[in-house]
């Protein structure tokens, strides 16, 4: 069997493409859900950690530390396989979205915190001196500047979340990787796996490039 027949077999590719596309749809929805929820949760955690009342601040710190310490795969398996024993049976999609966004929120929180702390003190003072409310100080003055500062690490983190969606195949989630493995088994040919790998790269490579561009632009502005 030639290299092309084995790894880049056109017939197999065409046959298994519908399966891959259905997997890709799930991977993309899972990735988007987890990224959006993770960012929202991360922003909330960062604000609680910086400005919340003492008990909430402690809870935010504990959350951020614990969810950065637990391996994502372990969390996913616990949510999907252990929670049913506590009477909580979740679908693979819900379990994977939860695990991914819980962990992403912890990392995003630290990134947002660094961004908020990176806004010059004078900006906070000017906003306070003008009489702006705490909410307006954040929404109008601090966050727009903080978010701009953290676009590169936030994009980087989002890429990681997207890549980690592949772990969901462990909990029987029919995502891109799972469907590719399935297709490989059906066709007794690794072409679907190679195709899946290429699809991941094609989706994420532009984003990886973008991070580099953002970082250079930010560094140029800082000078």
């Amino acid at each position: 069997m030639s290299f092309f027949d084995a790894f880049l077999n056109w017939d197999v590719f065409v046959q298994t493409l519908p399966l891959l596309v259905s997997g890709l749809t799930i991977t993309i929805s899972l990735g988007l859900c987890a990224i959006i929820l993770g960012l929202a949760g991360g922003l909330l955690l960062a604000l609680l950690r910086l400005y919340g009342p003492a008990p909430l601040r402690q809870i935010a710190i504990a959350y951020i530390d614990i969810f950065r310490a637990i391996p994502l795969l372990v969390l996913l398996v616990v949510i999907y396989y252990a929670l049913p024993f506590a009477g909580l049976r979740l679908t693979p999609f819900t379990s994977a979205t939860m695990a991914l966004s819980f962990v992403s929120a912890a990392y995003s929180a630290e990134i947002f915190r660094a961004g908020i702390e990176g806004v010059p003190k004078g900006q906070f003072e000017a906003a306070r001196a003008l009489g702006l409310s705490a909410y307006r100080r954040m929404s109008d003055i601090i966050l727009p500047q903080a978010v701009k500062l953290v676009i590169p690490p936030i994009t980087s983190n989002s890429i990681n979340v997207f890549k980690d969606t592949a772990l969901a195949s462990v909990v029987a989630m029919p995502d891109l990787l799972k469907q590719a493995t399935q297709a490989q088994a059906l066709s007794a040919n690794p072409t679907p796996l190679i195709s899946a790998a290429l699809i991941y790269i094609a989706l994420l490579l532009p984003l990886v490039r973008l991070v580099g561009i953002f970082e250079r632009r930010l560094a140029a502005k800082g000078r």
């Binding site: 000017a126 306070r128 009489g131 702006l132 409310s133």
Partner: protein, 244 residues
């Protein structure tokens, strides 16, 4: 006349450093008070306590009858106090027009149209009519500080606080900012100005206050203070700043 700002015995320490050591100061409505003194004398801390950018440890501050203290309605007090900063502190992500119009909308509840109309007028008054759509980074230091002044004025405050408004400027831009402040002084607004510009103090001030080591050492009309200083520390300070 009743004092619009009434400061009684305020103290403030930063760690072991006593920044304010019992300061009493009354400022009457319409008065221009210039505060001078060596660095570390507590001048900036004093005016930063008035709008609570720093919390004082002891003593009382009253602004237009409102007690300034922890838990007080600081928004009500801060809207009466416009502040101009040494480092301008313009909002870099907002246009010049938005910088000036933002607080009137968010705090005073004006519509954007009204606030921007007011902002245009003020920016014209400080000589920046042609720059309203620019962003702060596109302006010179002197222009930025004039935006800072317009931003403070947009809230129509009863008192303007200036914290070394020209100290971060290149020398050739000091004049344009001082001109604007001097014109404001003629409009009858109450002003407290911390500055190292003695020429400005002499021309614009009704009263000059000299601080050293967290206390007010001497105060009076500019002519008396500059021409017949009584305290030794003031004489030394004036010698140092005026000798070159």
């Amino acid at each position: 006349m009743a004092a619009i700002i009434d400061i009684k015995g305020i103290t403030k320490t930063f760690g072991d450093f006593r920044a304010l050591d019992g300061v009493d100061l009354q400022v009457a409505e319409g008065e221009i008070v210039v505060i001078i003194g060596p660095s570390g004398s507590g001048k900036s801390t004093l005016i930063r306590c008035i709008n609570q950018l720093e919390e004082h440890d002891g003593g009382t501050i009253t602004v237009d009858g409102h007690a300034v203290q922890k838990g007080a309605d600081l928004t009500a007090i801060r809207t009466e106090l416009g502040m101009v900063f040494q480092s301008f502190n313009l909002f870099p992500h907002l246009s010049v027009l938005r910088n000036v119009a933002l607080a009137p909308v968010r705090v005073r509840g004006l519509s954007w149209a009204d606030a921007e109309a007011r902002a245009r007028k003020l920016l014209e008054r400080v000589g920046l009519k042609d720059h309203i759509e620019k962003y702060p980074a596109q302006l010179s230091g002197g222009q930025q500080q004039r935006v800072g002044i317009a931003r403070a004025l947009a809230m129509e405050p009863k008192v303007l606080l200036f914290d070394e408004p020209t100290s971060a400027l290149d020398p050739e831009m000091v004049g344009e900012v001082l001109d604007v402040i001097q014109q404001l002084a003629k409009t009858g607004v109450t002003m407290m100005v911390v500055t190292h510009e003695m020429g400005f103090a002499r021309k614009a001030a009704n009263r000059v206050v000299f601080m050293d080591a967290g206390r007010i050492v001497e105060q009076g009309p500019p002519d008396t203070l500059f021409d017949a200083p009584r305290d030794e520390r003031l004489r030394n300070f004036l010698n140092a700043v005026l000798s070159h």
